[in-house]
């Protein structure tokens, strides 16, 4: 009935909560000619928004998700579509009580009012719950129920009132045309629309829509079962949609909430039931809606038993019937995080998918800001759709991880917990040797990396390394890591770093191109190894990486495995259109072996005829050396604070390099060391920062202590903000804190508190929390890193860290980047 336009500034596909929020915020940010289309009718087009449980639990261990949820709750409130009812996560087991304490820490860290309460207090708030099966409750007063359909209507109304929006329901997208890798046109059954921007906010259908443009949105629809039981007199008597707190019965992985006269029971406990986007029935063919599939009662029976245990008093009544039961569809991703941002395959094609109701409006704002300003206020690091390696975007991988991840929805997930499905996708050439050495493999971006080697077990006794006293601290951890660390500091270690993402950059425009992307001066002599932050337009961290100048017009970029795909997308997106720069992902072509420790030079000298003395091969330089007949690009640098090299060679030479190093190292007591040393113990002793932990879009180099001595003249992304930050005082400083007087080791994410237990935030409202934590074997303590506001970022200041319900004293040992271990870097420069 609405005239259909033939041009639009942006086409948003999908009118669920996410699409509505995107158009609302685009309009707010000044976009005009926004077209919102949906295949279904309004206000409920038939997607997951229409059948969701609509409750908002604000606390998540992830800060990013918590921020998105908090922003969403604010928006729902402002739209008048939020009802606060409170919520209680209840524990039936001791392990869950511990997890609730952990959630309590996250609540404190992110500034959300919450409290641990007794079973009696739970029963006081929810009188029809049987407290005898409950050990403890985690009470969050701000838990709420929202009306996403109404919120979506209001958002559309506002965008329409602003003169920015055209809505076309019952409009099916048939194609997305691209030209030169850019979006050009959306084809629909109501006509074609010329446009440069498309946002896919199609929930479970998103993969299908992305595929129309030859792109991938790696999610799978999956079933979440829920039933409504009623009428229940106590609930009906309230006369309200929700008058009692929502219960999350965490151990059986389910929830119960009032829904008018009914109790709605939902489950994440049943077997993973995945579905293909192509197999979702049409609106007309679906009995209820396309995303409300037929209930499969057998899968839900155990949940009914569990619900009776907790709510038998109101559920076990003859007139309380199962009035509604569905297999509702939701979107699952390989790592459980949303899929936001521009798709790496097509410019102008954006994803806003795999989003829960509780994050919808926040995601709308985030994506709109990202599209408008180049960077959103909330750091989308963990949600960036560009984060996946190619194999992680395949159907098989997505389904394997989604199936495994489904039951983790309410699970107790250790921060170091490893996936068990679809492992072994990427193996370095050293893999057979590592396997033979009893490596414990941890995965990153599909790469199997030794975390520690069981062959080093004897070193534990030799160095007298103590095991961790507490099971949670010791989970996915081994004292062998500390032993490997000490062995490296004493002699020499070899570390598999083949998971590095590496890009070859060359061409006449290569220098200018890298100058534009990197903070550090790239115009350095050939053979220089240059560490550089990479910033977003707002001056926050986008990445940090190493650049090697191989020739006047040829560079090698070396970055971390976990951020490799994001970095590749960023670098590709900034390539000049004139073809003056070629960028090639050489990750798979190159393997890397780290060789570090006081004896590293002795080992390298034995396997190469090239001069590796400090004079001939100084720190921060790179040279090609020959190990026998193998050409090896050696980079003299270190992330562990020791003398040594990264040895890069062609993948097919890898095994020979490993064997040469191992053989030559044997007389020097070389040990293979795992990523536990590289990524945690040695790194923390040296105060090195890690992207995604200390380094994020909220903080720039100045606060992270990574500002470079000189500001280069060339312009680069984020320069204005960076320049400004250099001129002022930092609002927060990254500090290293010692955790003395306890054997407990936090895991990351815990709040740092004042000595009297008050939460710490800086003047911009950013909280102080543990960004990394671990053992420092050479310092005989545990360390945590945290940003602190200036008044706390003073060495010697005593503070507290809250961990699993307890508070432990910590002392600011270092404010800034100077390492605690070997502060002058004499070992690595030796």
């Amino acid at each position: 009935m609405t005239p259909f336009p033939d041009r639009a500034q942006v086409v948003v596909i999908g009118a669920g909560i996410v699409g509505n929020a995107v158009v609302h915020h685009l309009a707010r940010l000044g976009w005009r000619d926004v077209l919102l289309v949906d295949k279904g009718p309004l206000p409920d087009p038939g997607g997951s928004t229409g059948h969701a449980s609509n409750f908002v639990f604000p606390v998540d261990h992830s800060r990013e998700i918590t921020l998105l949820t908090a922003d969403s709750a604010r928006q729902y409130t402002e739209l008048g579509t939020l009802t606060t009812c409170g919520g209680i996560e209840v524990a039936r087991t001791e392990e869950r009580v511990q997890e609730l304490h952990r959630r309590m820490s996250s609540a404190t860290a992110w500034g959300i009012d919450a409290e641990m309460i007794s079973p009696a207090e739970v029963a006081e708030k929810v009188p029809f719950l049987d407290p005898s099966v409950v050990l403890a409750g985690f009470w969050t007063p701000s838990v709420s129920v929202v009306d996403p359909l109404r919120a979506g209507e209001l958002m559309r109304e506002r965008a329409t009132a602003a003169g920015a929006l055209t809505v076309s329901a019952l409009t099916e997208v048939l194609g997305i045309d691209t030209e030169d890798g850019r979006v050009r046109r959306v084809r629909t059954d109501r006509g074609d629309v010329e446009t440069e921007y498309v946002v896919i906010a199609c929930g479970v259908w998103s993969p299908r829509i992305a595929a129309l443009a030859g792109a991938t949105i790696p999610l799978t629809p999956a079933v979440h079962q829920m039933i409504d039981v009623g009428p229940i007199a106590e609930l009906a008597a309230t006369g309200r949609e929700i008058a009692f707190p929502i219960i999350r019965d965490m151990d059986p992985l389910m929830y119960e909430r009032q829904s008018g006269p009914d109790l709605e029971i939902g489950s994440y406990a049943h077997r993973p039931i995945l579905c293909d986007p192509d197999d979702i029935p049409s609106i007309a063919a679906a009995a209820l809606s396309p995303t409300q599939l037929p209930f499969t009662p057998d899968d839900f029976d155990p949940q009914m038993e569990a619900a009776l245990e907790l709510f038998g008093g109101i559920l076990d009544r003859p007139d309380a019937g199962i009035r509604h039961a569905i297999n509702g569809l939701l979107s699952l991703t390989p790592d459980g995080h949303p899929l936001l941002g521009e798709l790496p395959e097509v410019r102008g094609l954006w994803s806003a998918a795999a989003v829960w109701i509780k994050e919808g409006p926040g995601v709308g704002r985030l994506v709109a800001e990202w599209m408008t300003c180049g960077a959103p206020e909330i750091d989308p690091h963990a949600s960036d759709v560009a984060r996946f390696a190619p194999h992680e975007r395949t159907r098989a991988h997505v389904r394997a991880r989604a199936a495994e991840g489904f039951n983790k929805t309410y699970g107790i997930i250790h921060p170091r917990e490893q996936w068990s499905s679809d492992r072994g996708a990427r193996r370095s050439p050293f893999f057979p040797r590592e396997e033979a050495l009893g490596a414990e493999f941890f995965e990153v971006a599909g790469w199997e990396r030794p975390q520690w080697y069981r062959s080093n077990e004897p070193l534990v006794a030799e160095f007298g390394v103590e095991d961790r006293s507490h099971e949670w601290d010791a989970r996915w951890w081994s004292p062998i890591t500390s032993a490997e660390h000490l062995a490296m500091r004493r002699g020499v270690a070899m570390i598999d770093l083949s998971a590095f993402s590496q890009f070859a950059v060359h061409g006449p425009g290569a220098l200018a191109y890298l100058q534009h992307l990197c903070v550090a001066q790239m115009d350095r002599p050939v053979g220089r190894v240059i560490y550089t932050p990479v910033l977003g337009p707002d001056g926050g961290f986008r990445s940090d990486l190493t650049v090697v100048r191989l020739a006047d017009d040829a560079f090698r970029v070396v970055t971390g495995a976990s951020d490799g795909a994001r970095d590749l997308a960023w670098f590709r997106r900034h390539l000049p259109a004139d073809g003056s720069v070629a960028l090639e992902d050489v990750t798979s072509a190159v393997c890397t072996l780290g060789l570090w420790g006081p004896r590293a030079r002795d080992v390298l000298a034995e396997i190469t005829d090239d001069d590796v003395t400090d004079a001939a091969f100084p720190f921060a330089t790179a040279r090609t050396v020959h190990v026998g007949s193998i050409p090896v690009l050696a980079l003299r640098l270190s992330y562990v604070g020791e003398l040594g090299w990264e040895l890069h060679t062609a993948t097919e030479h890898g095994l020979r390099l490993w064997d040469a190093v191992a053989a030559a190292g044997a007389p020097h007591g070389i040990v293979p060391a795992g990523i536990g040393v590289y990524g945690t113990t040695a790194r923390l002793e040296k105060g090195y920062r890690l992207m995604g932990h200390e380094l994020d879009a909220e903080h720039g180099p100045v606060e992270a202590g990574l500002a470079l001595p000189r500001l280069k003249e060339a312009d680069f992304v984020g320069k204005a903000a960076y320049t400004k930050a250099r001129e002022g005082e930092p609002e927060a400083t990254l500090c290293t804190l010692r955790l003395d007087g306890t054997t407990r080791v936090p895991q990351g994410g815990e709040p740092i508190l004042t000595p009297d237990g008050a939460r710490i935030t800086d003047r911009r409202g950013r909280p102080s929390y543990v960004t990394s934590a671990g053992t420092a074997p050479s310092l005989g303590t545990h360390l945590v890193l945290a940003y602190l506001p200036p008044w706390h970022a003073v060495e010697g200041t005593g503070l507290l860290v809250e961990y699993l319900g307890e508070r432990y004293p910590v002392t600011v040992a270092r404010a800034g980047r100077t390492p605690l271990f070997d502060p002058d870097d004499t070992r690595m420069r030796g």
Partner: protein, 251 residues
């Protein structure tokens, strides 16, 4: 009084029904299954009658093992025993269904009342109840929307001829009932858990055939014109009343 309800597994369809590639059946890949609303009322009535009279409420279906899902649904509504007569498909022709039910009723302990839904929600043949009654020489009333039982008789109400007819039949009797007979209850959680574990008695089905054989299914051509917009807000009232007058619902 012992009551048996004959129920049928039917797909729970949406507004549009997809067909299999050969168009001989409904494509049920994405569909759940249910019993029709008439049969839900029949089950409800049987449970109430059994409760009231201290008798038994049984449910019977004809079909392959998956049809036990519907038997269990009826059990979760309060039926106390279930019988499945083996058949290769859940949607046999009426004569085949009749033979199966008739055979089973000759084998099972006697029931005072056998209830059917007026017609199945899928095929809608609307005849099995009468066929069974005929074969068993029992009285039957169709279109029933009210049941009262006495010692020897059952009183059955139906809407007909612009009013209500009250029929009386000697027991044992058969009735085909309509939605509106009662408000069927929803299954309870306890009922569902009990039903899950309840045994289902399985009887062999007879070898029967029918001269009515489906060749193909097709969609009825639907002609729906564009919506006529009568106006906006209160100003549309005269146009609305014009339409109402045209329809003859107002003067």
């Amino acid at each position: 009084m012992d009551v048996l309800v004959c129920i049928k597994r039917v797909p729970a369809v949406g507004a549009e029904i997809a067909l299999t590639a050969d168009a001989t059946a409904v494509d049920t890949r994405h569909l759940g299954f249910t019993i029709g609303p008439h049969e839900e009322c029949a089950v409800e009535e049987a449970v109430r009658l059994a409760d009231r009279t201290g008798g038994r409420a049984g449910v019977l279906t004809v079909g392959p093992p998956e049809t036990e899902e519907q038997l269990r649904y009826a059990l979760s509504m309060g039926a106390d025993h279930a019988i499945r007569v083996e058949a290769p498909v859940a949607d046999p022709e009426p004569e085949v269904t009749t033979a199966a039910i008739t055979g089973a009723l000759r084998e099972l302990p006697p029931y005072d009342l056998v209830l059917f839904g007026e017609a199945s929600a899928d095929a809608g043949h609307a005849q099995v109840g009468f066929r069974v009654a005929c074969a068993l020489r029992r009285p039957i009333v169709g279109g029933v929307k009210g049941i009262d039982v006495g010692e020897e008789h059952v009183t059955l109400r139906r809407e007909a001829g612009g009013g209500v007819e009250v029929h009386e039949a000697p027991l044992p009797a058969v009735a085909a009932v309509l939605e509106g007979l009662n408000l069927p209850r929803y299954p309870t959680i306890k009922g569902r858990l009990r039903a899950k574990k309840a045994p289902v008695r399985v009887l062999a089905g007879p070898a029967a055939t029918s001269g009515l054989r489906t060749l193909r299914l097709r969609h009825r051509p639907e002609a729906r014109a564009e919506t006529v917009l009568l106006g906006h807000g209160a100003g549309a009232a005269p146009a609305v009343v014009d339409v109402l007058a045209e329809l003859g619902v107002v003067r």
